[in-house]
Symmetry: C2
Subunit: 335 residues, 2 copies
């Protein structure tokens, strides 16, 4: 490697002081135009790149935001990330991303890394196995604000941007009802997730309002792994009184559940109807995707979360705030 070039290098080469170089590089008008030009010229020709560690140490800010998501392969989260990136970029902030792979320990490691790196803020979508929040408390103690996106913590006061499932899911239940469907099961996500709670509560309330019966046997939870989802779906289909429709926690769960139905010789959305959450682009490619999905607008969630963080960083927000993104039912045209 070429020996590292610092402002000192440039300074001595030009016979000026390091501070002059520093100022020139920042375009400080107090420095003579001629000097500024000479400095930036030399800097470029030496391929000088400032060492952010030094700047961070000095200025106590990184213009960097850490993003922790459960995984990167779900389109839901990559859309969320794009929303985040787009706002942050507008505000001169860099997003750096880490995935917890739905594992609390990885999440902790990622968060700690970002804390050590003293990011200006954190955007977090919780892992499915997270049941402690100490690692986040710690971050806030250091004055680093956190905004939770979509996968928000239970009973831990915080900034958050959530999807409201009620709107879309109610429409979904009504939609099924109008199709003459009465027996509706819920293949839910892990109880640790707030979003699973919401689905469950809305489902129960909705069923009640439609005067439909349900039973514990109709309510199952998967840990979101393909195997577990398939096992739970097998159980549902094995019931002596199987449901006519299944509401799946999200599109991935739906796809796995649908596969189970198909393996059993059932025709999806005919013998058994599927409704799901997320409405991801990939489902467009599915021949037998869910008949309808509750669109949650992940891009918008990310965008709003980024905006909120930006506001916190620039103007400060007194107390915690929650923002909501309302879901909407999307019926596939093939229905």
């Amino acid at each position: 490697m070429a020996e590292t070039v610092t402002i000192k290098t440039i300074a001595s080469l030009l016979g000026v002081s390091p501070s002059t170089v520093s100022r020139a590089l920042q375009g400080n008008p107090r420095i003579g135009l001629r000097t500024r030009e000479r400095v930036s010229e030399l800097a470029r020709s030496l391929n000088y790149v400032s060492n952010s560690a030094a700047q961070v140490l000095k200025k106590n800010t990184t213009f960097t935001v850490g993003v922790v998501v459960p995984n990167l392969h779900e389109e839901y989260f990559s859309l969320m990330i794009e929303g985040i990136e787009d706002v942050l970029e507008q505000n001169g902030l860099q997003a750096i991303i880490s995935q917890s792979r739905d594992n609390m320990n990885r999440e902790k490691k990622a968060v700690e890394h970002f804390l050590r790196a003293r990011v200006d803020g954190l955007l977090v979508s919780l892992s499915a196995t997270t049941n402690e929040y100490d690692h986040f408390q710690n971050v806030e103690r250091y004055g680093i604000p956190i905004v939770f996106c979509d996968r928000t913590p239970k009973g831990f006061p915080s900034f958050r941007v959530r999807s409201v499932v009620e709107t879309g899911l109610k429409s979904g239940l009504e939609f099924l009802y109008e199709k003459g469907i009465r027996k509706i099961a819920l293949l839910n996500g892990p109880p640790d997730l707030l979003s699973a709670d919401e689905r469950l509560n809305t489902y129960l309330r909705g069923m009640y309002e439609l005067k439909l019966e349900t039973s514990p046997a109709y309510i199952r939870t998967t840990n979101l792994s393909k195997e577990d989802t398939m096992a739970r779906m097998e159980e549902i289909l094995a019931l002596e009184n199987p449901p006519e429709a299944v509401i799946a926690f999200n599109d991935y769960v739906a796809l796995d559940a649908i596969q189970v139905a198909k393996n059993r010789g059932l025709i999806p959305n005919k013998d058994i109807t599927f409704l799901s959450f997320a409405n991801l682009p990939i489902t467009d490619y599915m021949e037998n995707g869910p008949i309808a999905s509750v669109e949650q607008f992940p891009y918008r969630i990310g965008f709003k979360a980024g905006q909120l963080l930006e506001e916190i960083l620039s103007s400060g927000v007194p107390g915690y705030r929650e923002e909501l993104v309302y879901s909407v039912l999307k019926i596939r045209d093939k229905a």
Copy 2:
């Protein structure tokens, strides 16, 4: 925010010197056991987290590796990232991820950010629009090694881990041939990508060896956007002498192309056969996915790239090295 706690805070609280605290925190055995315990206890109770900027400045190493991929929504790249993370983790390195969204300028920004942050190394999968490499040269000048993964640069000497397309694609051509298919088109990716070159060359050579004719009209390139892919596919189908099979650049291109065929009333893999690259898990959910895919083992590519980087960092590798991951044809059982 609570005022920042540093080793000084701890030191004065304990009536020892900062250097003692520093050493104690590192578990330096030269410090008395009792002191070490008191220090780490207080550190924990104060939620002390070291400021990596200071450490970086001092030690000139970050134990962090930057990863830049074209996008996060393709399963291909998220699998690659998992491979990368798994090796790095084993070696005490943190991966931080950035996506270029197939845009060279974003790629440059990400790379520059990582350079400023003085990551220990960089793992890069090029954006589809990258046609200059200055930003990478610059990184290397700073002694930061780069390993390119899969999407590797053309005519820019570098460390790289590549997928070898020949093996799988040849089998693919033979597979089609044995099915009696003679007219085979190639719906390729952007010419800037080395992998597009390889597909083209192998296709041409394979067709020649099988004594099959092809023509410029059978060879199209898409910029990988859905719109462009569909337009190119329309052109292919509009030919007076349309092909019996289409080899698509990757699974996503295949899915878009298949949609065009279906829109035209063609039955995929019957009226027109599709073969593709990647063999992504999501294609399992497709009713009408490609009949066969060239599996490229992205996880393995990421893993090997991580290993190579680790080797460069720890022992140093003289000159550049290229490692290959051989592709294999996977035929779907429904075929």
